[in-house]
């Protein structure tokens, strides 16, 4: 079998980068290891620039085990962007944590897992990639030497392993019923089966639960607030963005390409769970006092909006999901950047400690307000355009009630987002010393902020890409 390795060059380059950094890191003296962060960021930027050449290829490799389509390229770029932004933002944080450069290496490996995950054309690749990503995150979550971090890692590991065990059981059932692991062939094989297969429904539910865990779909979201709170903030940022977006992408592929025959079952299920996720995520965010926990619940709520893109079962929905993923990643990375920058100085993630942030660091206060308002869907910020796409795609399919739930809940979300804004702008700081933002974190902050405003005002470039991605998933 002839394998065109150039099709894997993004992944190979990323893996090489990780290995090279690991080697360099061991060779250079400890005090100069902090430059590794910059090297990695630079390397990823180069890979990102290079990755644009992969649009339009739309080919399958090794008996359809690996798909290089526009949808996967779109998401790979998203993970690269997320990784670059997170690494830039976290350089100081990592230096302070204990300066272990392995942190960056594992982060890249996690990103590699995500990239393979979105390209996975069969369930075996899917599982391996998912575990690569997940195991990296188990390590990262417990990376810090404080009890909360270790506990977060422990919890994430056990619950994560449980969920992937269940996912795997589901995959094995699907394999058993259809006799194939190739995602694009499953639908055809299901068509050959006579009638309705209970085992497939169980498999479907298990798969949905396993991936629902990763995207924090209610009722599989219980780990989210705990792990988000306990994990080191850069990890939380990457977990909340990359891992979630990757799982959304693969869930979309599985549900829309492999299991459309059971769409009646899963559409109902996903619709109800989406509504629950929006409601519970947003309501439970209200009483939170810890910023990271609040953002965790808000990200649960966001998952509820995002999954509606899959529910639509059409190209508009997938495009909307892709579009919103980018918007969500930008706003979330930005928000967590503010959190980690603040916490390096204040050693606290409590919302009350954000009092008077507007005086201590006007840029961060403004940026955080913009990110939160974007998540709430206030025009002209990007979150509004994203929500508009999402809701429009399902209203078409008759899910008006879900749109109403979504709109009401995004209104509720304004309430707790504004609470944070109020603390930052209206309360007086206990400690008046200005917070200095490290130059690298400032880059992340400015980039995400500008992008959040820009894509709100002029969404065309991103919507064209999202459109291509959506088209690729469904036609390929």
């Amino acid at each position: 079998m002839e394998i065109n390795f150039s099709l894997f060059s993004i992944e190979i380059a990323t893996a090489l980068l990780a290995v090279i950094i690991l080697i360099i890191g061991l060779m250079i003296p400890k005090q100069s290891r902090h430059i590794l962060g910059y090297i990695i960021a630079l390397g990823l930027v180069v890979i990102f620039g290079f990755s644009f050449r992969f649009y339009g290829l739309n080919t399958a490799v090794i008996d359809k085990m690996y798909l290089v389509d526009d949808f996967s390229v779109f998401f790979k770029q998203l993970f690269l962007v997320a990784a670059i932004l997170v690494i830039l933002a976290s350089i100081r944080y990592v230096n302070k944590m204990n300066g272990n450069f392995e942190f960056y290496v594992i982060t890249i490996v996690a990103a590699l897992g995500m990239m393979v995950l979105v390209s996975a054309g069969d369930m075996l690749t899917l599982y391996v990639a998912l575990e690569t990503m997940a195991i990296s995150f188990y390590i990262l979550a417990g990376y810090k030497t404080d009890p909360k971090s270790a506990e977060a890692g422990m919890k994430y590991l056990i619950l994560g392993a449980l969920s992937s065990g269940i996912l795997l059981y589901g995959l094995s059932l699907i394999y058993g019923m259809t006799g194939t692991v190739i995602i694009t062939e499953i639908a055809a094989k299901i068509g050959l089966l006579s009638g309705y297969s209970p085992a497939l429904v169980v498999g479907l539910v298990f798969v949905l639960a396993g991936l629902g865990f990763k995207i924090s779909l209610i009722p599989f979201q219980m780990w989210t607030p705990d792990v988000y709170e306990g994990a080191p903030t850069p990890v939380t940022a990457f977990l909340a963005t990359g891992s979630k977006a990757a799982s959304f992408a693969v869930l979309a592929r599985l549900l829309l390409i492999a299991l459309p025959a059971y769409s009646r079952q899963w559409q109902l299920l996903v619709a109800v769970l989406a509504a629950l996720t929006m409601i519970i995520g947003n309501l439970a965010a209200i009483p939170q006092t810890n910023m990271k926990r609040m953002l965790a619940y808000s990200s649960i709520g966001q998952a509820g909006y995002m999954i509606t893109g899959i529910l639509a079962m059409n190209q508009a929905g997938v495009s909307a999901l892709s579009f919103y993923s980018v918007i969500y990643v930008l706003a979330t990375v930005g928000a967590f950047t503010v959190v980690m920058t603040c916490s390096t100085q204040t050693d606290s993630d409590e919302i009350t400690d954000y009092a008077g942030l507007a005086q201590r660091s006007p840029l961060m206060a403004a940026a955080l307000t913009i990110f939160l308002l974007s998540m709430a869907g206030i025009p002209p910020l990007a979150g509004f355009t994203g929500k508009l796409y999402l809701f429009k795609s399902i209203v078409n399919q008759g899910y008006l009630w879900l749109v109403i739930v979504g709109l009401v809940m995004s209104m509720v979300s304004v309430y707790y987002y504004l609470k944070v804004a109020k603390v930052m702008y209206m309360n007086d700081p206990v400690d008046k010393t200005p917070i200095t933002i490290p130059a690298e974190a400032k880059i992340t902050l400015l980039l995400t902020m500008i992008a959040t405003i820009f894509f709100g005002i002029y969404a065309q470039p991103l919507s064209v890409l999202a459109h291509i991605a959506g088209k690729a998933l469904l036609t390929f």
């Binding site: 909360k148 506990e151 890692g153 422990m154 919890k155 065990g165 394999y175 006799g179 692991v181 709170e229």
Partner: protein, 107 residues
Amino acid sequence: MTAIMNIGLNHFLVLSGTLFFIGLFAVLSKKNVIAVLMGLEVMLSSVNINLIAFNRYTSPEILTGNVFAIFVIALAAAEVAVGLALIVAIYRQRKTAEVQDYDLLKW
């Protein structure tokens, strides 16, 4: 010999299902975190039985299921390695391996 011949796919599936629930039960009820980890391993093994049985009874000529099972074993080992490392780390801090004690993060 005949008894063995009578064993079919369903027997394997029942075995795997039983193992799955035994593992799950351990995860849900064991106090010691290492036992919980063992429960997880049992669950993964049940999947392996499933995969191999399906392979054998549906498409014995292509070894997809077997290959899948090997990958699962490898990944499970990685998972356990990380799990044990975390247990050591957390045990050093708290001097406890009881799952119930890990509740700093809540609400």
